[in-house]
Each structure stands twice: as C-alpha cells, then as structure tokens.
Symmetry: D2
C-alpha cells in the first residue's frame, strides 16, 4: 500500500481514557491515520471532540449511523478503511453490526459484546461478511508475552502443569460509582456493563493471556465471585480454580478491591521441564525458571540471537529503553494494519500479521464470563466450561 | 533464672537439616543450651551424632525412652528442662506423649502429629500435665510478620476482605523420592508423612501465617489437590478457595512442583482501609498499601518510633543487617525460653513470652489438613472446616 | 491552532533507530505531523526513506538544503513549521544553522554540536533569529523525573548534599565498530562524534538529568576517562567527582563497557531532610527516603492529590499502565508543540510549555564535555567547570 | 578436637550492638563457647554484663588485664583459647598486644587499630608469636560473596576492567552525636575513632570486599572526603576514584549522610567477558551478566552442581531460607575455629579454614585510610597507595 490505512472511531470523546489509547496506539507506527469519528452519543460533544482532534469539520459526525452512511458515500480512495469501537460494552454489538453491514472492517475494544448470545451472532456476521475483525485484548501485545508464548509453544517448558494468573486492582475498593466517576458508574451498572464487572473487565484479560501463551483450554472451573461494596450490583472480586484440558491446573483471580494495586496482571506458568513468570507492570522482563540452571531474566530486545522472531518484531527500541502499555497496544494495531493492507490489496495476510485477537477470542471471553456466573451460583464444585467453538 | 535453660533433642542426627536449624535457633541468644539427645532411631548413629555435637558421652543416648528415663533420674539442677522433637511426622505423637508423661516440657516440629485424632489426644495430655508445649510454625517468628499482625490487629487496615497466601516450591517437580533422597522419601510416603505431602508440609505454614496475622478463622473451603508425579501417593500441589468467618475471602495455594521456586511463601492481605504484602524470601521488608498515601516499605528495626513493640523485640540487629530464617526461628525459642523460665520460677509467663505457636495451633493445622482432604474428595463445592476448638 | 504542527526531518532514514523514535514521539499526541524530510545524505536513500514513510513524492527531498529551499517556497499555510535534526553529531551545527537562516524552528537531537565553539555560535544565532529551538535530552521527559524535580525544587528534601548519577551500558564492551555496525562506527570516530564517545553520548544525559532535577551547577570536577578497547580512539568509560556550587558533592559515571547493562541511567539525590532515587529502566517508580517516615514509592499518575502538576501533565495513562521511553520523549515534543503553537499564534508560550531542553542546555552539555577532557588530561585534582552562560 | 573452643571477650557489654553479634556468630555452629569476659571499661558494668550472659561469677572480670592474668593461670584444659576484641578502635591495639603477649589467640573487630603505625607493630607481634589472628571484615562471609570470588578468580569474567563499590548509610545525617547516642559519639570523635569516621567505619569494608573478590590491589587513588555536619570533626562522606594495578578502574564511595539508606553495601564488577553484581541487603542473590546469554540469578545454596565449594560450605540452609548478617559473620568464626582447632592439635590449618580476614587485611585497611587522607588533603590528582606489604 502506498498510503496510510484510514481509521474512523466510535466513542472515545472528551474525557474518555481508552479512546485516546486507541488513537495513540493505532497511529504510533505511521501506518494508520484517524480520519473521522462519532466520538459521543451526544451529537454536540461528538462533533466537538472531533474538532479537538483537529479533524476536518465534515468528518466530525454527530452519530455513528451518520458516520457509516456518510463514509460509505465517499470515494473508495478516501473513505475510512475500518472503524475502531471504544464505547461502553452494551453498544459494542449494535455498532459493530452496523459497521459490518455497511462494509467496514472493525477493531473493537473488549469485551466483545454485552452477552454471549450477541457474541455468537456477531461472529456469524463477521464470518458472513469476510471483513477483518480485531479485538483489543491488548496485554498479548507485549514483546515478553510473545516470547513466553514462543517458549511454551516450542516445548522448552515441557508439558504444562500449572498456571497461576492474577489481576488485582484497587480502584473500586470504595463506592466510587456514588461519587459520579463516569467509568465506575457504567462498569458497575448491569444495564451498561452486562452481567459482570470485575471478571468481565479484567478477569477476561487474565484468561486471554493464559490461553494466548499456552494454548490451553479450560475444561471445567470453580468460581467464587464476591461483591464487597454494599449496594453494588456486580461482583468486584473473583477467585477461580481451573482444570485445563490435558490435566493442567490453574488459579485465576481478579480483583478491584485490592487497595493500591494498580494494574497487577501477573502470570506464572510451570511445565515439567521449566517455568516462567511475567508481570505487566514491569513488562520488559520475563523470568525463566529451570531445574538445573540459574534463573534467567529475558529482556525485551536484548541479545537478539536468543529471542523469538515474534518478540523481536513486537519491539521498537534497543534493550533498556522501556516499552510500555501504548507500545504493546500498538502491536495489535500494527498487525491488524498489516493484515488489512494485505486484504485491501487482495492478498492473504501472513500468519504473523494475523497475530492479534480475533472475534473467536471475544466469543471465548464471553463464554468464560458465562461459565463463571454459572459456577458462582452453583453448589456443584466443578462446572464444565460453556462451549464457544 | 541465673542459668541457661537445658534442652534435649529427639531426632536431628547426622544429615538432618531441620535438627541443625533447631539447635542454632535454640542457642542463638545464649539462654538455652543443648545438654543431651537421642538423635536417631539407630542407636549407634544416635550416639555418634551426639559426639559430633561435642556432648558428654553419658548424655548421648541410644534412644528417646532411654533419654527420658535417664534424664528424669538426674538431679533437678542438672536434668534437661525441655525436649525438642524433630523426628518425622509419624513419631511426633509417641515421643511427645512419653516426654509429657515423664514430666518434660516440649518444643515440637510441625505438623503436630500424624493425624487429627492424635493431635486431639496430645492436646488433652498437654492440658492435663500443665507442661509448656511449643510448636515451630517458624514463619511467624519474622519481625515483619509480627509487624503485619500488629497492624492488622490495630485496625489500621480496616475490616479484612481478602487474603491471598501462596507457598510454591519446586523441589519435588521430579520423582526425587526414587533417587533415594531421604527427605523426599518420607515426605511422599503416607506411612511416614500421614495423609498429605504438600499441604501438610507447607500448606499448613501458609494457613498458620494467615491466621497469625489476621486472627481470622476458616469457615468453609474448596480444595483442589493434585499429584503430578506418576506413582507418587500423596499430593504435590494444592489450590484452595477459602471463606473466612466474618466474610473475608481467600486463596491459599501450595506447590512442590513449581520448578525453581525455592521457598516462596508470600501473603497479601486487603482490608477496606489498606493492604499489606510480605514475602519470606525477602523477609525484612513489609509493603503497606493505602488508598490515598504513597506505598510504604516498612523495614525490620528501622525507624523505631513507627514500629510495634512486637516487631522490635523480634529483631536483633540495626536496620539493613539482614535477619533471616534462623533468627526468625530463634524468636520462637526465645519466647518459649522466657515463658519456661517464668514457669520454672513459679511465675506466670507474660503475654509477650507466650507469643509462640501452641498445641492449639497444631490441632488447627491437623484439622485444616483433614478439611482439605474431605473437600478434595467431594463433589460439593463448599466444605465446612473441621472443628478444632 | 486549528491544525497540526508540521514537522520536517533531516536524517533518520532507513535503519536509523533514533529517527523512528523522534517520529513516534513527535506524532504520539496528534498535534504534530511529519510532512517532509531529507532522511539521508545519500539522495536516493533519502527519497526512498520518505516513500517508506508514505510521504508525498514532492516532499521526499534529496538533501536538506533542497528541503529548506523548497519548503520556504511553499505557501505559509502549507510549509513545514519546524525541522527535526537527527543526523550524526558533526552535522548538527550546519543543518541547524541553515534551518534557522531559512526561518525554520528547530528540534535537535543531542549533543547540540560537534564542539563548544559551534555550540556558542549556534546559541547566538538562535537568539538573533528568535526562533524556537529544542534539544532532546529526553530523559527529563519522564513523569517521575518531573516529580523528582518538583520535590527538590519545593525544598522538601532540604539543602542538597549529594548526587550520585550513573549511566552504565555494555554495548561497546567489544570492538563492535570493527564489525561494521554503523552506530558503533560513527560514535567511536572522532571525525564524526567529536572529542568524546561515552561521555558525549550518555554522560551528558546524566549531567543534564542531575541539573534538571536539582538546578545545581557544577563548580569544579575531577574526571578519569578510560578507553578499554585497544585501538579505539575515544573513551568508552568515565568516572567523575563533582563539586557543585553551594557545597553539594557528586559522583557521575558513564560506561559503555559494563557488560549486559542496558541503559542503566540512575540517580540518587540526598538533601539534609530527605532523599530520592530513580532508575530509567523502571521509570514509573520514584523512591522517596525520609529520616523518620517509611520509605515511599511514588508511582506515575497514582494518587493525583499527592503529585505535582508537572508529573501529572506528563502522563497519559492511569497508574499501573507502564509509560516508557517513547512517551517520555513525546513529552518534550508535546511541550515544544505547545510553545510553537503559541509562538505561531503570536502569543507568549506558558512556562509549562517551555519545559523542554533549550539551546542553553545544549551549550552546557558541550561545556561539560570540554571540562571533562581538560580534567582528564590534567594532573591537577580539581578543574573549574568551563563557563557556558 | 573433642571439645568446644573457648572464647573470652573484651568489650561488648550491656547496650553494645556488635558484642552481641560476635557472641551469636561465634556460637552459632556449636564449636565455640563463651567462657569469660571483660565487657566494659567500668568494672561494675563489666561484671554485671558477664552475669547477664549467665557466665560463672569467677570469669566475669573487672578488666582485660585481670582477665588475661587470671585466664593464664587456669589449667590448659580450661582456660580460654582465644579472645574476641570488640572495643572502640583506639583500644584494639593495646588489648590485642597484651593478649598476644599473654599467649592468647585473637579475633579482632575492624578496623585493626587506631592508626597505621600501630597496625604495623601489631602485625610484627602476630608474626613473632605465631598465634592465630583474625579480623572481622564480616561481609566477606556471605555465601554469594564467596561465589563471586570463585567466579572472578576462575577467570569466567575475563580480565577485570571496572569495579564500582558503594556503601551508603544515613544514620549520621543529623548531629546524632549531640543527642548522647553512644556509638555516634565515639565514631565521630578523633580521639576514639582515629583519623576517619565514615571511611574507617564502612569505606574499609567496601575496599576489603572488592579486594576479596577480585584480588586486585589499588595502585593510586583520588579521594574527596567531606564533613557535612557542622562541628563534626571527622568526615561523614567520601567519594574515591581508583586505579588498580593492571589497569582496572574503580569508584568507591561511602556515606553516612545518605538519609534512609540502611546498610547499602553494593558491588558491581565488570570484566571483558562478563560482570556481576551483589547487594548486602539482599545477600542471597548474585547477579551475573554476560554479553550473549540471559542475565542469571545465582542463589545461595541453589543448584549445587553450579556452585563453588566455597559458597556451598558457607551456607547452612536449603535455598530459599534466607541466610543473613549473623550467618555471614559466623562463617568467619567457623573458619577461624577450624584453623584454631588444627593449630591447637598441632596441625596445619587447611586453606579453606584460613578463609577469614587476617592481620594483613587489617594493615591494608589502615593503609587505605592513610591513602585516602593523604589524597583528600592534596591538590595532586593521583596519590600512590600507601604501602602495606
């Protein structure tokens, strides 16, 4: 392609955190440019947000239906190539559905949809349209996560026995939603967030990370979800025991009441020949554990001869220059852009380009939430995982 | 007292790790001296071990019954004051029973006994004799654990909501018991270790640590114990969900197949006003977490004005001079010695002196193991904790 | 401004690391766009690099003189607003000089020039033209560096007594320049890099960081520069004792032969009331040290009420989402863009917008190198710092 | 030997920190017992301290001359074998001299003496008497320091190029000596401490550590000593550049005004094939750095097959059971006791037993202090190290 990929955005107006992240991530590598948007459900705010972003007035749309209609009318060499959806959970499905129906490729924030039923319907539509669909389970974009994946998949850790993945946060340890804080408001509101707060928001990241690295699937689980804040309608903490297919055991926990924990996603994986450990808050180090060698610290982009192609491709800087959250997020967009370029050029994307979370990952996440809720409400110890394939 | 307390030892002969630890810990502060022992079930080895330790020949006994008989015959100002029991689990009960019957105070390695039934019988005997009984759940001896306890008990963290306690090790990740390694041999042998390997050995330490700091009791639990090594008869890994009385939730896990994890006991506790975190492998730092203050690092014996009396009393060196495992272990002995001095002098021990694990802690540990096994074999999600009081 | 600031670039073509960093950093916040460039001294490579970057053909220039001439001819509402210079050291001066003479504002990679004489001449020209000049001493862009500066400047640490700043790297521990590696080649070549390798490249970052945080100026110094690799013409390691005006003492060291150290810039500052510590490789934590409070960990964008306005403004994400090297670099560009917008709108930039390294910082850096070389060659212990004001 | 080695003590009475450390360290392994002492220069306090320690009344001496005389009179099978000297610096020499003259072996706290002249005289006397003399430069007792030494001496790091050793403390950041704190009082008093405070107390530890690991000797140095507290008569901070024989460069710094730094001894050593790093406050980890392998963490007593005999012999516990300051200190005593046993049995001590600091290390330390003071007062950049051999 001799031009940048053109992105439109739904959601992410003034004051929204995740919209800005998507814009920075998408444009970091100079292959994608934001060309239009419907940034808010309030038409005036939507347009004003677009102007803040220095977009031309005629591409600051008052609503997403208006945007899809107007962009479809623009000449092929000018209209947006894909839309990025960063609205609250409940609108993911209707926005994505309309985008696909208007022929636009989609990059969607997670969770995929409001519930599993919508997720299955959306997947059907994606498959039917043949359009490119990405989901921003962004933590899999870190170079050292890709290194971990390459290591496990290569068999160097042997057969996986145990996975411990945790995601503690503390920001909902008080009744923040009562203070008018917007994000706390919708995340704890079943009408907007769906049937889960903590597990839907961050527990699914933990599940996705474990699956991305190991390829293992949950067979059955035992969940203990808790709401600690009085009057809150969704859970703010959850502890889960896992049985993976093939015999591995797991613990997954997520929490939003773990005071002063910021964004503590951490994973430990043990095989019968070695183990590894990674922490999101210090993402450029991967710890390797061996029975008869000294513990090793693998570092982003250090000692190229020892690293997988995947982790090297996911890094932009020499070792010692910290690459963070935005860069990891950008790696999803980079691959999505590469795949989309190929598709727009009528070619088949490479396997490397397809290394970004798909609609299938989104369906699996929604099924995971459904499994957790079923288990948490049951007196039965082990609950078979809800099917997602 | 104008003399040292006199200790005898059962077990801990040549090649035993834990016996040497007890000797170093007991004698570190110069208030206790080893005067005699029956160090092995093999008479020759027992005597030779005593000679290695430079004990007089007439107090290197061939067996513990011989020792109890002979020591009782010695004059009051000369005979041993208490016996330290460091044999494999299955003999704790008979040795302790005989010691008590012969009128000797006892310090016993954990777990208390082979099973809960023995534990209950032993407790009855302790109460009946009025002798002083200590149990070496040694991790509660660290100064920063005592600081954590003081903090939680003072209410500064508010009502406790969540406890995450873990204890991963890797030393049994292979079939070490088949290589003839002695400790692996008896720990994985139900006839010697009892009904549990991993949870009995280290899971009980984790449970004890959580209880020591918070005072919370387990109401019900859900356990998933696994044996990863083919042919091994006892579990080498266990994951447990916990419901504490009063509403706190917990995760406890212990593992002996977590390759290259050494002795990774770690605890995180979250209340509604603050949280804390402590790791055994870096024991002189306690992390405090607050909603609206910077994270704090409390350090052993640093800034006396900010520390509890309990943590200061448990430390021997200025801040920055690492105090380790032996020093923590020695704190149990120091308190035990203070309490025993008082008792021998006909006085009531102070509450501070009684800060060492008691026979009750041992019974609770055995009940915990029983609860885990019941739960692990059940299809019911939540199992009421086996009573121990 | 209702449009993006337009940037041209000199240098940074195919294979150059730092050019890509500047492009990502400049464009991260969506206020600057790259519109043209002369990316290489080889005309064909220059143009091809521009095409790689998806620039229009007529703005991929064969050389920087051509670019300056052509851009000046473009209408005011279309021509580039400033030029970013990312060539090897020796051409900084001629490129910047011509840019200024053609009326373009400048953002220049460090060191400012080839030698102090050029630096002084360039400063004169900047002052004469009144154009906006920035220098990318990028490490001062980190939020926690700004927090450190705010803390020191507020007096909370008291009078500064001691500064220890170090910058070990290992990449030149072997004779990498003999392998044809391009960057090693020019950095160790006096004709291209100037009179210093290690101190010019990274020692000046260390000096700049210390000055940025504390505001202290070096009064006299004692330097020990060493070349460890046989045949290398410039130093690859340097240790320096510092006397600051006002009585503070310092140690500064930089090294390129410290095997496996990546980019280990670290600073410790001690006042008479407190101290602080910061490491570039874990940039989102600032350690605070007090005589009578627990050690504190300040974290990027955590607990807004406790942070300075400067550090909050320099951060884009909630706490726990690591912000790295590119984000810190982008903070220089963001402020530069804000200042340039004001200037282009005929307004005076705010003090906050002027928080980026200036031509004065560049002159001071060149004077620092000159001081080091004088000291290193002298038998006199203390060498007065070369004047730069 | 079929008995314990008998130790007497001079100094270390009530309230003294280091005396208690020596007693714990000496007796940790059950090969040494404290049998007598003259614990204070105040006779009543001396005797009372002995009683506190549960010593028999007739061996609680009022003064050290009385102790030496009385112990010499006791039968050979009963008198003390060696004396441990833990008095303030200024009395090391007279006490050690008298002990040697009375035929007693000596273990002496560091620094060896009040000044270099005394040190040389003492060495002569040690050689003349043939008695065993040890010095407690205790940091060399850590297992990972011994591992570092074995690694460097084996050549695995190649030729050593650079050493950075630092020892920051903060306890004298205020005028503590004015508050009546005893240790601050004598350490800052030239009449008691000698010509140096900070460098004599802790700078010599840093020098000793570097020499112990690398075997390198200082050829010339450049020192900058500072007194930050008004009215204090000795320096409380010092920064030093080092040239080692053979071409290695070094930085050594020690400080007692680095607020909230506890006991921050840290060393980094770089050769032309690899590097290492060790911190006293986390002593059970040794970091290894390689140009083309992942960074490695060596851990005390982990993976026996990879460790040197020296580090294994210096450790008492399985990996993961922290060994701290007292255990490291005890390693000096253990080796001293082994060597003394051999000597008392008329045998030649093994090289392994002689791995404890000797009178030569003490002389070298005193010469180092003399070199620092000469350099600090000079305007000459490089000062040849004062001879000590």
């Amino acid at each position: 392609m001799q031009r940048k990929i053109r992105m439109g955005m739904v959601g992410g107006g003034r004051g929204a955190f995740i919209g800005a992240v998507h814009r920075m991530a998408a444009q970091l590598d100079g292959r994608i440019e934001l060309v239009c948007g419907a940034f808010s459900s309030t038409p005036e705010k939507s347009v004003a947000s677009g102007r803040d972003l220095l977009l031309p007035a005629d591409r600051c749309y008052a609503s997403y239906p208006e945007m899809f209609r107007a962009e479809r009318e623009r000449p092929a060499g000018d209209r947006m190539d894909f839309v990025c959806i960063v609205t609250p959970n409940k609108t993911h499905y209707p926005v994505a559905k309309m985008a696909l129906e208007y022929g636009f490729n989609v990059m969607c924030d997670k969770p995929l949809t409001f519930d599993l039923k919508e997720a299955l319907a959306l997947r059907k539509l994606v498959h039917k349209t043949g359009l490119l669909f990405g989901l921003t389970h962004n933590y899999t974009g870190y170079p050292m996560v890709k290194e971990a994946r390459a290591l496990v998949r290569s068999g160097r850790l042997g057969a996986i026995r145990k996975i411990v993945v945790e995601y503690p946060q503390g920001w909902l340890a008080g009744a923040l939603e009562k203070s008018g804080q917007k994000q706390a408001g919708w995340r704890t509101d079943p009408a907007q967030a769906g049937s889960s707060c903590c597990m839907g928001d961050i527990g699914t990241h933990a599940e996705n990370l474990a699956e991305y690295i190991t390829g293992l699937e949950i067979e059955e689980l035992c969940a203990d979800l808790t709401t600690f804040i009085k009057g809150r309608k969704l859970e703010d903490d959850g502890n889960v025991l896992l049985h993976y297919k093939g015999g591995a055991r797991g613990i997954l926990y997520a929490s939003q009441i773990s005071i002063d924990d910021e964004n503590g996603l951490r994973i430990r994986i043990y095989g019968d020949r070695g183990g590894l450990e990674w922490r999101q808050e210090e993402p450029n180090t991967l710890i390797l554990k061996w029975p008869d060698q000294h513990r090793q610290l693998v570092r982003t982009n250090a000692k190229a001869g020892l690293l997988s192609a995947a982790s090297k491709a996911a890094s932009r800087l020499p070792a010692g220059h910290p690459e963070g959250f935005i860069e990891a997020f950008a790696n999803l967009y980079r691959n999505y852009a590469l795949a989309l370029e190929a598709q727009l050029d009528g070619k088949k994307p490479t396997p490397e380009a397809l290394d970004f979370p798909s609609v299938d990952d989104g369906v699996r996440g929604m099924a995971f939430i459904a499994s957790l809720l079923k288990s948490s409400q049951s007196r039965q110890k082990w609950m078979k995982a809800v099917a997602w394939k």
